[in-house]
Symmetry: C2
């Protein structure tokens, strides 16, 4: 039988203070709440806003590249599209040239919702500039980009 294991409290403090994964998850939850609250009046979450914005293109993209852009699993994208399709904001059609592919596009209603969300995004995002230590958001973005 093995003896009882004790993890030093100092290890706990080390992980709590230095773990980048934990710090990013914390920030992700906090920012998600911030944008979810702000976007609630137009009926979007932060993820739905990002997803729909990524579909605003000259040519409707297939699912794979969209999932890659959002750094999410393809199955997550499939699930995330469901409520947007149900509300009539996103269309999913089959590519005639390659019947495996689904082409994603915004409906006129979807574009209207997204357009209403843009000014909310602008003001919410601008409020973040004041929060960052020295206002250098670009530096933070570059660091995050290196991780995704």
């Amino acid at each position: 039988m093995s003896n009882a294991v004790e993890i030093p409290f100092s290890t706990t403090l080390l992980v709590r203070d230095t773990c980048l994964c934990l710090h990013v998850q914390r920030a992700a939850r906090a920012l998600a709440r911030l944008f979810d609250d702000a976007l609630r009046p137009v009926g979007l979450t932060n993820g739905q806003f990002s997803l729909m914005m990524s579909l605003n293109r000259p040519e409707p993209p297939p699912m794979g590249p969209v999932a890659t852009l959002l750094a999410m699993d393809q199955t997550t994208l499939t699930a995330a599209l469901k409520p947007l399709q149900r509300r009539g904001w996103v269309n999913v059609t089959q590519n005639a040239k390659d019947k495996r592919r689904r082409l994603l596009s915004l409906t006129p209603e979807g574009k209207a919702v997204l357009a209403a969300a843009v000014p909310i995004w602008e003001t919410t995002h601008a409020s973040l500039e004041e929060v960052l230590p020295d206002g250098d958001m670009g530096r933070l973005r570059r660091d995050l980009q290196a991780l995704a």
Copy 2:
């Protein structure tokens, strides 16, 4: 009737390139996958690792402060504890002095699992140092801390 709305493609590019919320969510998903993959052999996800590590204290904490530390909703913590209790890794007991409070503590089995996870965390976290542009992880942490 309102005319069809068109969001300029330049707005899409602006949001895609500058939205801090999107960038953090992307990094959060990527880091979650990285740590989930690494920790899978011991049966933990990144979130379960962070949660259990935060419970490794001299005195069992109640739920509120733990939720605050992890920057998560209290209801999320309630749900996250369920699978850990079921596996016998975390104990939830009532505080005799204040019967509203639940005290969270690791079981010996939980400590053993956590101890097995620590070296995995160390090597995985060390691998991130090489990924960051100039290796300044502390700067990134400070920026993230300002958001959470």
